[in-house]
């Protein structure tokens, strides 16, 4: 086994089901995303998008069926192993409030290294900081930054450890259209360069055209919940 194993699929589900108590949320048809693919997953609020992301991130435990990320079956991993796997391989960008408010921009950027236990790659850090235009804000408090700037810090933080997969939960919904496109172009630029797989969930289809592939969660999910049921 060599370190440069070719990963066939970044993401793969077989017969994946999930429910909160007695409320079934997900019952997905088999599906896969290739390594390096940039995928748009859309669906209305409450269709189970966040639940799916939490499963892929390894924060929720797989209850039934199989979920493989980077060819590694999650059902064989303990919660602690999932945390380690996430720290090493997955970058995550939230809709908003991605940053720890009491840390500076730089401190937020290097925070993931504490969990992935890797040393800071200074040239990558500089490249991301310059590429995302964050240089002037490095020592600022994150609370002084605009929403757009905060999302760029979040993107840089997710990219810094060179993750194999980036999960994004409507990271552009707080931005206006022009900023949205610019933000995504920057993000995808770095992802393509590193062959990073992106799974981007949103209910906003205006940005769909920027992605390699677009999928409706409702088409994948056999369970169609009314919005109220999830709340």
């Amino acid at each position: 086994m060599t370190a440069t194993k070719v990963i066939q699929s970044a993401l793969q589900f077989n017969d994946l089901k999930f429910s909160y108590g007695t409320t079934a949320v997900l019952d997905l048809t088999d599906f896969a995303i290739h390594a390096g693919e940039i995928v748009f997953l859309f669906g209305p609020s409450g269709s189970g998008k966040s639940t799916l992301l939490e499963l892929i991130a390894g924060v929720l435990q797989v209850q039934s069926g199989e979920l493989k990320v980077l060819d590694e079956p999650y059902s064989e991993k303990t919660p602690a192993q999932l945390d380690q796997f996430r720290a090493a391989n997955i970058g995550y960008i939230f809709q908003s409030f991605n940053l720890i408010p009491y840390l500076s921009v730089t401190e937020n950027l290097v925070l993931p290294l504490m969990f992935s236990k890797t040393a800071l790659d200074q040239s990558r850090f500089d490249k991301l900081v310059d590429g995302l235009g964050l240089r002037p804000y490095l020592n600022r408090k994150v609370t002084d930054l605009s929403v757009g700037q905060q999302q760029r810090v979040a993107a840089a933080r997710a990219l810094l450890k060179k993750p194999k997969v980036i999960l994004a939960d409507e990271p552009t919904s707080a931005l206006d259209y022009d900023h949205r496109e610019k933000f995504l172009e920057l993000l995808f630029h770095f992802c393509r360069e590193d062959q990073t797989t992106v799974l981007f969930v949103s209910h906003d289809r205006t940005i769909e055209k920027l992605f390699d592939r677009s999928i409706s969660l409702q088409a994948l999910n056999k369970i169609h919940l009314k919005t109220e049921e999830l709340v």
């Binding site: 924060v59 602690a80 090493a88 939230f94 409030f97 009491y102 401190e107 992935s116 939960d169």
Partner: protein
Amino acid sequence: MNWIKLAWKSLKNRKLATSLTVFAMTLSLVLLMSVERVRRAAETGFTQSVSGVDLIVGARSGPLNIVLYSIFNMGQATNNVSIESYNQIRNRPEVDWTIPYSLGDGHRGFRVIATNEDFFKYYKFRSTEKVELAEGEIFKGYFDVVIGADVAETLKYKIGSKVVIAHGSTTGDSIQAHDDKPFKVVGILKPTGTNVDRALYISLEAMEAIHLDWQSGSAPTKDKQIAANQITPDMVKPKTITTFFLRTKNRIETLKLQRDINEYQEEPLLAVIPGVVLSELWQNLSSVEKVLKGISFLVMLVGLMSMLIALMTSLNERRREMAILRVLGASLIQILGLIVLETFVLTTMAIVLACVLKIAIEWALGPWLQVKFGLYLDSPLFAMSEVIYVVFMMVLAILISFIPALRAMKSALKDGLSLKI
């Protein structure tokens, strides 16, 4: 970035709550340590009122009685010790030195001790400290008196002041006074923080001299009075003393000597080992200290409760923070650990602050405590018991922090990555 730094920054972000919590914890710890320190000083002051004395010998009564009247000026001797017995014991080969005391008279609330120069030579307290003169010299003439520091301060006496000794009263003013033979202050002792400060010292001969013309415990009539200038050394040779302190040359001889004295044929005597009696007595007097200690522990508990409240109330607003840490790869155990670590940092801050404050307070108030209350803060800066309190507080704080820590862990598990508020 490391965990300690993260915990520190997080605490710093909640400045007000953090500083109030640290303040409450610091105060409780300072209180606990101060109570302990004062207790220790009081105990040392008490049990080491006299040191280096192996035996106290007096007429046969009870051990407590002898200790009380010889050291603390409480109660009276039931009988005297004849000078012959005293000399016989004093001249035994195993005896290093003795200090004779003749008691019974007083002066305006303070007792008068008749002794000899050996008192200034051998009397020790708090292990090694000797009685020293602040000014003047020790008594030479019959009517010279050396006074303790408290006596000098309370009665505003200086070298040369006239002192009239009251008869038969060790505490208050008496009906009968030795006003025909007034004394003159020739020396003032340095403060010791012990009962030495609360007495006047005259020679054994002076004690005889003022009672020379007294008969059956009452003052002489005018015609029978013997004037001060008619006294000859022969007339004032001491015939009895009340008690004496004794030091052996070799400590292992103490028990044998004690037995010999207790079985002394010519006279019923009792020899007691002061250290034993003093610690027994202290045990009985220390209930106040226990109450104080109990209250201090309650204060510590209040300090810890304020910490618990501060951590609990912060948890809800920190759920987002926990979700971010989770997504970066923090495990639930690490979330738990972060809260415990924050508690550790908080408590460490409180402990360091409390120690600094304690040292500062003792430095500032130490001299005043010594002069005013005879509390001598001299033993080690931190005793074992204080170290135990600090460790106890830390352990308790860490244990209590598991309540918010487990809760944070539980809510992080429930929240996942998206806050469902």
